[in-house]
Amino acid sequence: MTTAVLPLDVPGIRRDFPALTTPFHGKPLIYLDSAVSSLTPLPVVERMSRYQSFEHTNVHRGVSTLSQEATDRFEEAREKVRAFINAPSVKQIVWTRGTTESINLVAQTFGRRNVHAGDEILLSAMEHHADIVPWQLLAEERGATLRVIPMNDDGELILDGLDDLINERTRLVGVTHVSNVLGTINPVKEIIARAHAKGVPVLVDGAQAVPHLHVDVVDLDADFYVFSGHKLSGPTGIGVLYGKRELLEAMPPWHGGGSMILSVTWEKTTYAPVPARFEAGTPPIAQAIGLGAAIDYVTALGLDRIAAHEHALLAYATERLQAIPGLRIIGTAREKASVISFVLDGIHPHDIGSILDHEGVVVRAGHHCAQPVMTRFQIPATTRASFAYFNTREDVDALVSGILKVQEIFQ
């Protein structure tokens, strides 16, 4: 950080999270699992509750004032998402259930239309299963092949061979903006530019990026950008697909039903323009409004200040964890977001997770839905601590003493 930013009022912020001040196993809760799902601050909960209690009805239906107002709130949230990622138009913001559904939508529409036998889809070696399996399903159906951008031992993508990996058969490049296991921040702008030089579109999985970085889809020139509400201090059940206008407009519908049509007869249905074409049925309305409130919340805190705070915590945690004998950090990229995965000699991550849990320290243990990453590093699983704006240095200290306790038990 070169420019000075005012520090966050962390004690004040923590009061917005009742879980953090409620005893857990008789101890304070140390929540170091925001990468799996972030805690939801009270203003977001209250906004959804207000909608559900006083403003609720279906959207885009009927002429009642209530319906009109619900529709307005719902569409205002879409505008908040648009502004948050600097998309040119709200028509490029499609509501989905989350990152996973967004990627499946692209695979089943764009993919089915454009991927044929012999074609290739290029994915990075650090993708989440959500950005592997939908493409694998498509590739199987179409007779296409998945290829992989490799990574080095620090968990950084090796881009030397990228221009050869992208060839005339490549139909799409899929890359995660931030790795959920390694914390690596990938140079997606460069990857996109190099793919575009060969006329290949790029889908960016932003699930782990939007909570920590300023994302500007125009500056990145991303063709598709996807993320989930629940990793951004919002609720589950809501996510976003951003797409370039011409790509979205060329894509066929996926789910059919109400709201996605212009007219229906027994002979023929004509479809609504985007984004409605991709939003069949009643959408998650409270969740969309909740995501809008979450965007207001983090924007008010300031993404720069959040990034500076998390960066300092990451540096402190890295230093303290590295000092523990027998501990190895997996993912040591130069550019990292606030995620630390580690392994302890001779102790399985599940045992670490259980013992830390008893100390009130919530971490994730497992393969993090990224088994190819585990295979790459020849480990079955890792323990992962991930930090958010409400975490403190004391939280890191609790993690460290928890780890020492694990080692003591396993001596």
């Binding site: 001779g346 399985h348 045992d351 259980s354 008893h358 079955p380």
Partner: protein, 149 residues
């Protein structure tokens, strides 16, 4: 939740470090592959059953301390027993972990396997402890793979 120290007792830690009957077994009469997709625990169990008697049993794979110690102690307890006795152990072990068998007050043949009774208070770890037993059940019933999901 019970204190993890109660669960991670010396015996379990020790079996995790030095699992008994660990390795390959060829030729064998029965085998199965057990997987816990949630955490990636993975065990291959092979047995030699002759005249209804478990003559030999070995396991390979990787997993947490609970699943490894559970596999290790399972092999120790099953070896030399009849197939029918082994099946009874499978049922009793599962019942203990589910909390339907009170090992302190009800009759059973689990012996030192009661070390794992604390797992019933750690719902997230139940599958780890049960995986080898479910795999044994599959092996004895001629099923190749078992999944805890």
């Amino acid at each position: 939740m019970s204190d993890p120290r109660e669960l991670y007792q010396q015996v379990i830690i020790e079996h995790n470090k030095k699992p008994r009957n660990f390795g390959d077994l060829e030729p064998c009469t029965h085998q199965a592959h057990g997987l816990n997709p949630l955490c990636g625990d993975d065990i291959v169990l092979k047995l030699v059953v002759e005249d209804g008697l478990v003559k030999d049993i070995r396991f390979q794979g990787h997993g947490c301390a609970i699943s490894k110690a559970s596999s290790s102690l399972m092999t120790v307890n099953v070896k030399g027993r009849t197939q029918a006795e082994a099946e009874v152990l499978v049922e009793q072990f599962r019942a203990m972990i589910r909390g339907t068998l009170d090992v302190e007050h009800q009759a059973h043949d689990l012996g030192r396997l009661t070390l794992f009774s604390g797992v019933k208070d750690l719902p997230s770890r139940v599958k780890c402890a049960v995986l080898p037993w479910a795999t044994l059940h599959s092996a004895l019933h001629g099923e190749d793979t078992t999944s805890t999901e």
